[in-house]
Structures are given as C-alpha cells and as structure tokens.
Amino acid sequence: MSQLVQAEITGHAEPVPGVSRIEFYAPGLARAAGPGQFVHVRCGEGSDPLLRRPISIHAVDRQAGTVKIMFQVVGKGTAWLARQKKGLLDVMGPLGRGFTTGQTRRNCVVVGGGIGAAPLYFLLQELAREGCARQVKVLLGARNAGRLLIKEETERLGFAVRVATDDGSAGHGGPVTELLSEELQANPGFIYACGPVPMLRAVCGMLESAGVPGEVSVEERMACGVGACLACACRVREAAGGENYRRTCVDGPVFAAEEVVW
C-alpha cells in the first residue's frame, strides 16, 4: 500500500555531474516497494515549483529501512531536490506497476541508457536476491565513460556488465542497442529496458523482430501519480485490438514491450 511520509534524508551523493542520488529513511515504503515502481516527491515548500516529481526507486535496503532515488537535474524541481542534503522529504509511494520477475524471467538481458539505469539497479538487486545474477546480462549505455552509472555496484552484485558509450571512451563505441542486437543472437528469454525514448523505441522494435518478450519503463509528465488526473497518458495497443491511452502512473510506468505505441 502506498503511503505519504515525511522521510528523513540519510545520504546524498552526486555519482556523475548533474545526477543526484538521495537516500531517505522510510521503512514502510522500503518494505512495500518493488523494482520499477516510483515515488512522487514534493520539490519545495511553496507553489513554484508546484507539482510533485515522479522519480523511480533506485535501490532499497529493507533491513535498514532506507530507499534511494537517483535522478538527473532537468528543471527547477529536480534542481531543488538535488540541493537537499538533510532534513525531511515529502514522499508518496511506492507507486505504479513495476517490473515482473520470477522463474520464467531468469535468462534475461537488462538494458539501461543514461539515467534510465536508475530503476534497473533495484531490479538487479532483486534478481541477485533471487540468485540468478550469473544468468543475467547487463548492458549499460552512456554518452561517455564519465557519465556511466551503476556499473561498479552492479558488478559487485555478481553480474557481468557490458558497456557502450557514444564516443567510445569506454566499452563498445556506439549505442547500447548494438550490444543488445548481439545478445539477442543467444536467444535470451526476456529483456528489461529503461532509457531515453529513441533507445526504448529501438529496443521494442528489435524485440518484435526477434520475437523476444520484454518490459520497458517509460516516462511521462505526471500530476497526481495515483491514477486520478489522466495526465500521464501512454498510448498502448490493446490485447483485444485497437489502441488506447493508459495511465503511466498506475498502469505503468513499466509496460510490456509489445504494448507501447511509439
């Protein structure tokens, strides 16, 4: 069950310039959260910025009762949030439908591009807990070596990580989807992906051609976060045929790869 809490900030870091990672203490939220879900965070006390910001859950430590979020500073809301080093955060969550894991998903590839790596780390924590780190391939893309996220900590969980950078300063020189294309030759059972729209669009196209199922986490402008305002519409194909809008906040942010209309 989602809750509204005033959570104490217990940690703050800037893993790469312009990206912040905040840890806060919210044991109930940590217990309830699943990978791919998000929290809705108030960014300021006044009315400007007005709306909460939906931010994916990056990691949880259920024993310590802490939750981490990691986000890129893109506007005044996230800029305010990045300045919070201590004190209380006004947080709603966990919200949304996250990634599905389990037996049939073990032989999988996890693909992250840029800040899209943030929610994937929580997924990898769960996959490691389920004992399948050795079966999972992790592909991480970034503009350059200096902007790579979650590589070291993912390796510490026991995963093999392959890296792609746009400028070739680390790993493969080119988009991370080129690595996915190679991995698809080995017939993986499932793909998880999060990243910028062009990357996700390409991933979904590749999965369709290869006939491999997968899940993608999408982003949309959001107001309420609880399914009431219908702002965060994501266009999807309906199983029964035709297309419709679904709410990214409660029907997503994770959708089946074949559902999303790009």
Binding site: M1, S2, Q3, L4, R42, S47, D48, P49, L50, L51, R52, G77, M92, E220, R221, M222, A223, C224, G225, V226, G227, A228, C229, L230, A231, C232, A233, C234, R235, N244, Y245, V250
Partner: protein, 303 residues
C-alpha cells in the same frame, strides 16, 4: 459549530468538495484521504460514450500553476452509472457527477441516465471545458447555448443542477444571470483559464493539444473576483474554485460569496489537502467566534 451547507439542494456536511477531473472517481485517493470527511465528491467529466482523450503531453507546469489538456477522457456514462457509482455510493458522501458532451442532446442523455442512480446527489454541467474541440467551451461562451443546455438538463432530471462557468468570457455576470434564469440550482466557478506554453528549445507548443487550461494558485485572484462579482448579481449559491491550496484560500472564496468550495490542483501537490482544509476552516471558525459557516458566506461584502 455548524459547517453544513446546502448547495442548491445538495446537502453537504461541510463546504469542501473536489474539483472535477482532479480527483478521478474518488477511490484513487482512498489510501491518503478519509473520503467520508468530504462534504461532497465531484467526479470526472462524464460523456455519453467513452472518450480516449487528447494526445500527450497533456500537462505542463507553469509558475504557481499548471496547464492541462486531458480532453475529457472518461469511461462513458454507462460504466460510471453501472460500475463506479455503486462503489462510490457505499461511502455515504454526496457525489456530484460532472457531465459533458458535444451537443445539447449529449448533455440531456447523460443527465437522464444518471437520474435516480444511487449515490448521485447532483449534476455539474460542464459548459466550460477548454480542451475539447467540439462542445464544452462554445456552450460556455455563448449565453444562448448555455441556457439551452441548462434547460435541456433540467427537463430530464430531478437532481440539483450546478452550471460550471468559464472565465474565458467577456461577460461572466451576464452568463451567470442567463443560466440562473434558465433554472440552474447553483453555479460553480471558475473552470480553467485558456493558455499556451511554448518549448523554446524545440520551438513548438508543449501540449499535444496546443492550448490547455490553467489552474493552481496562479488563477486564484481571478477566481475570487469571479465569485465576488457573481455573488453581487445573482442569488444562487456558488461553488467557488480556482487555486485553493489551504483553508485560508478556501475562506477567501467563502468570504467573497461562495457557499462551498472545490479543491482541485492542490490534490496533486498534497493528497490530504481537502481534509486539511475542512479542519482548517473549523479551526478558523473556532478561533474567530463563528458558530455557523453561513455567517461567513459573502461576509467580505458587508465589511
């Protein structure tokens, strides 16, 4: 202390309700709010058939506000009456259904279907949605069609009918007088103000619909002015709304002449805003020696 009000025949235990479109069908907020504390719940705009809504992006934040262009996405009156109302009716809170359509007949059809549905305590006619191409706004900007819609709805329902007015008109008072004359039981104001935001980097409008409706604290003085002017001209009870975030904001509307208030955008920021406003109004009354909320309605006109 008495906080109960009568909004054109809708009996509310306190003057606080939710603005249509910001609270879904109420149940979405159940994890955060004790819905039974609300004076009434106004649910999402309902049309004869399901509507898919506008292409995204549907919202954009603005200084102390936001623009929205949802496009009346809703499951259609059949599902609202048959599936959603039975669950909402169990709460025992008056539910006001906002109704919309493309033609006068559409409004009458929705109103007729909702007449007698358990839990529905009233209708709010949306003649002011700025985000659908046909319908909505043109009814709200032309007094003759507004009158026609009001009469058509009144003739098919025994429920109290609130007419929601648009601020995007030159003569708001004239519009209020016209729909009052046509038989409206109450007036709600204001719907959102029409706006556009341009993305300077991409050199195009942000919203998929190009224009959207501005809400939030930025519009509050405009809304309070609307209530103030209409209160002086028309004797119908007024449901005031527009950027109410706190009990003090709500009190501005009541003092300007609103019998009840609706909380909209604030729900997105603070999902407990409605209940905190109910409590804040009670505290204000206690601290300032008012025993009945009716003493406060329009009091600023007599100052």
């Amino acid at each position: 202390m008495n906080t109960s009000v009568n909004l054109g025949g809708i009996k509310m235990k306190n003057p606080v309700t939710t603005a249509s479109g910001t609270f879904g069908f109420g149940l979405e907020y159940q994890p955060y709010v004790d819905l039974q504390r609300l004076g009434a719940i106004i649910v999402k705009g309902t049309t004869p058939k399901p509507r898919a809504g506008n292409p995204p992006p549907r919202i954009v934040e603005t200084p102390s506000g936001m623009l929205n262009a949802i496009g009346l996405q809703n499951p259609g009156v059949e599902r609202v009456a048959g599936e959603i109302m039975p669950r909402l009716a169990e709460l025992g809170v008056p539910v006001i259904v906002n109704i919309a359509g493309d033609t006068v007949e559409d409004y009458a059809l929705v109103a007729r279907r909702l007449d007698g549905v358990p839990g529905v305590a009233g209708l709010e006619i949306n003649i002011s949605c700025p985000n659908v191409k046909k319908g909505g706004i043109q009814f709200g900007s032309d007094p003759r069609t507004a009158v026609e819609v009001t009469r058509a709805v009144k003739s098919v329902t025994g429920l109290p009918v609130i007419v929601k007015l648009s601020p995007n008109v030159t003569d708001l008072v004239g519009m209020a007088e016209a729909v009052a004359e046509a038989g409206a039981d109450a007036l709600s104001m204001i719907n959102t103000l029409l706006g556009v935001v341009i993305d300077v980097d991409r050199r195009r409008p942000v919203l998929g619909n190009i224009t959207g409706g501005l809400s939030g604290p930025a519009v509050r003085p405009v809304a309070v002015r609307a209530v103030w002017q209409v209160y002086r001209a028309v004797s119908l009870p007024i449901l005031g709304m527009g950027g109410i975030m706190t009990a003090r904001d709500a009190l501005e509307f009541i003092l300007a002449g609103a019998t009840a208030v609706a909380v909209g955008t604030a729900n997105f920021v603070n999902p407990r805003a409605t209940v905190e406003i109910v409590e804040g109004i009670e505290t204000y009354m206690r601290e300032n020696g008012f025993s009945d909320i009716s003493e406060l309605v329009g009091l600023a006109h007599r100052a």
